[in-house]
Amino acid sequence: MSFFKVESLGIRFGGVVAVDKVSFEVKRGECYTIIGPNGAGKTTIFNLIGLLYPATSGKIFFEDRELTNFSPHQVADLGIARTFQNIELFEHATVLQNLLIGRHRHRRTLLWQELLFTPSVRKAELAQREAVEKVIDFLDLAKVRDSLVAGLPYGVRKVVELGRALATEPKLLLLDEPSSGLNPEETDDMAFWIEDIKRHLGVTVLMVEHDMNLVSRVSDRVLALNLGSVIAEGTPVEVQSHPAVIEAYLGKAA
């Protein structure tokens, strides 16, 4: 049984082939990174996995279930969570409320119970809160717990978004450029957390990233894309020294 597998995935927008016959497999417990120059189709692959775009061709399997048979909100129910490159938090809610939304897939209460706020709802809410507090401890977010997201600096928002994804208790975590917009120290923290997520929480990480330091530090395997197609796959060192990758980033020697 494969954990997560993408088979000759493709999408075209009109005449533009954004992703072309991309296949790869992510093993349970590893950190798999997709790299590539701008416009290589990395984020598009994420959006295809999240079913935000309908794939033109190819299949996606998660724990041997074909993902395209589901609707977008069910992807989270299956155990796939993601973050966004440009941060999509609930701005006019507190950090705590944002993380609690992450618990949405674990809700067990009915509408009428919630309207009356029955003891079972209270109990469920307290349990959700405890789960969220674990994430808050893990990511050291206690000091901003009750702040509105709209007032937080960019670096903290990045962490809150990671926390919200973790609060869903995912099996597979999709991180879209976790270090973009972060200063070197924050990037360092992010690297620690990704390693911890992999080791201690046992969550498989699929990541899109540009910062090669971070990539080589945390990833087990790397996939390089250019113009929508796979150009290399292997360990970080192998991919970085692959001639096709160097050519894609730096151009051909004259």
Binding site: P72, H73, I87, E88, L96, G102, H104, R107, E114, L115
Partner: protein
């Protein structure tokens, strides 16, 4: 300044966060309960309207303020509630059945109106709901066999378990009780998963969806609950005015309802009640002011002009509404002398992900 020390997760689930709130809301409740003994017939009538419009405002606040969907058609739900109540009462159905029926029928229609909302956004949704308002108004006017058409319907006072709610005080207590129940229900909803899902949809549909929120279910649910509350308001409204006809439920009425939400403060439960009170009190202030104005200014159009001006002024200078203004005043006193002008200014939001739809 008050510092809240939290030692228990249950503390965040409380409806009242500290003793101060218990005291002030308790005092408010006492004053409201004592009101019939202290104020005259005219003020009682105003309080009836404030309660009724608060219930409607709460319904609309859930939709506009917490789910981020606009509706310019809520007068239609008010009409459905009012007519259901009138027709059922005429057929001898007791109030404890007819009121829930009014809520259910409005809610069902709200659910139907929620279906186009799945595909429409912003101004287009506003136009669709506006069309819905016109359709309902027209149907009521034309379906003379059922609704009496433009000649309208008369209602008798409410009778519940042998008690007649025909006096000012008894009807007031009924309205007040329903208002308080609506507020409590809404507060409960907002501290539960469903309410959080609504807020998630308001702030970012795409990430709500990625967190597992079924946009279709929750949007239609929000429309349905909002419409049901408005239907309850409509049923009470019908009893209050005791005569209903289609011209009470026009587009202008819908716009007045949206005004409640905007003036009160979008996204605050307090806002619905403050907005309703403001909407009822303002015409009285205008009519008082008319006595002191030259006769060529104090024409019949004055009220519309003042309403328009107030709405524009709020949107430009106080987008958070009356409740937002109160929060600022309170913070100013709490932090005196350290209040800064920019404290409530919303920070420019960072670039959002490319919009997918």
């Amino acid at each position: 300044m008050r510092f809240l020390f939290k030692t228990d997760y249950a503390q965040d689930l409380r409806l009242f966060q500290h003793g101060g709130q218990v005291f002030w809301y308790g005092l408010l409740t006492l004053l409201l309960l004592a009101a019939p003994f202290a104020v005259g017939e005219y003020m009682m009538s105003q309080l009836h309207f404030i309660c009724i419009y608060s219930i409607v405002g709460l319904g609309l606040m859930l939709l506009v303020g917490f789910t981020g969907q606009i509706s310019l058609g809520h007068a239609a739900f008010l009409a459905v509630g009012a007519y259901t109540e009138a027709l059922l009462q005429a057929r001898g159905v007791p109030f404890f059945v007819s009121l829930p029926s009014a809520a259910l029928l409005s809610g069902a229609l709200g659910w139907v109106l929620g279906l186009p909302a799945l595909r429409l956004k912003g101004i287009y949704l506003a136009i669709a709901t506006l069309a819905f308002n016109v359709i309902v108004e027209e149907v009521i006017a034309r379906w003379e066999g059922l609704t009496g058409g433009n000649s309208g319907l008369h209602l008798k006072p409410i009778e519940l378990f042998g008690m007649k709610f025909d006096g000012d005080a008894s009807f007031y207590y009924l309205c007040l009780a329903l208002t308080v129940l609506s507020i409590l229900g809404l507060m409960n909803l907002l501290r539960s998963p469903t309410g959080r899902a609504f807020v998630a949809i308001r702030d970012s549909e795409i990430s709500a969806s990625c967190m597992g929120v079924n946009l279709a279910t929750y949007k239609t649910m929000s429309f349905a609950i909002s419409a049901a509350l408005t239907g309850i308001g409509g049923a009470l409204y019908a009893h209050k005015v005791s005569f209903i006809s289609p011209e009470q439920f026009t587009l202008l009425q819908s716009i007045e309802l949206v005004t409640i939400v905007i003036l009160g403060g979008v996204g605050f439960i307090h806002g619905a009640v403050l907005g309703a009170a403001f909407l009822i009190v303002l015409p009285q202030l205008i009519s008082i002011a008319k006595d002191y104005l030259p006769s060529n200014v104090a024409g019949s159009g004055l009220q519309a002009v003042v309403f328009g001006l107030v709405l524009i002024t709020f949107i430009i200078f106080e987008p958070l509404g009356l409740y937002g203004r109160w929060l600022k005043v309170r913070t100013w006193f709490e932090l005196f002398p350290f209040y800064r002008r920019g404290m409530f200014r919303r920070q420019k939001s960072y670039m959002k992900s490319e919009r997918l739809r």
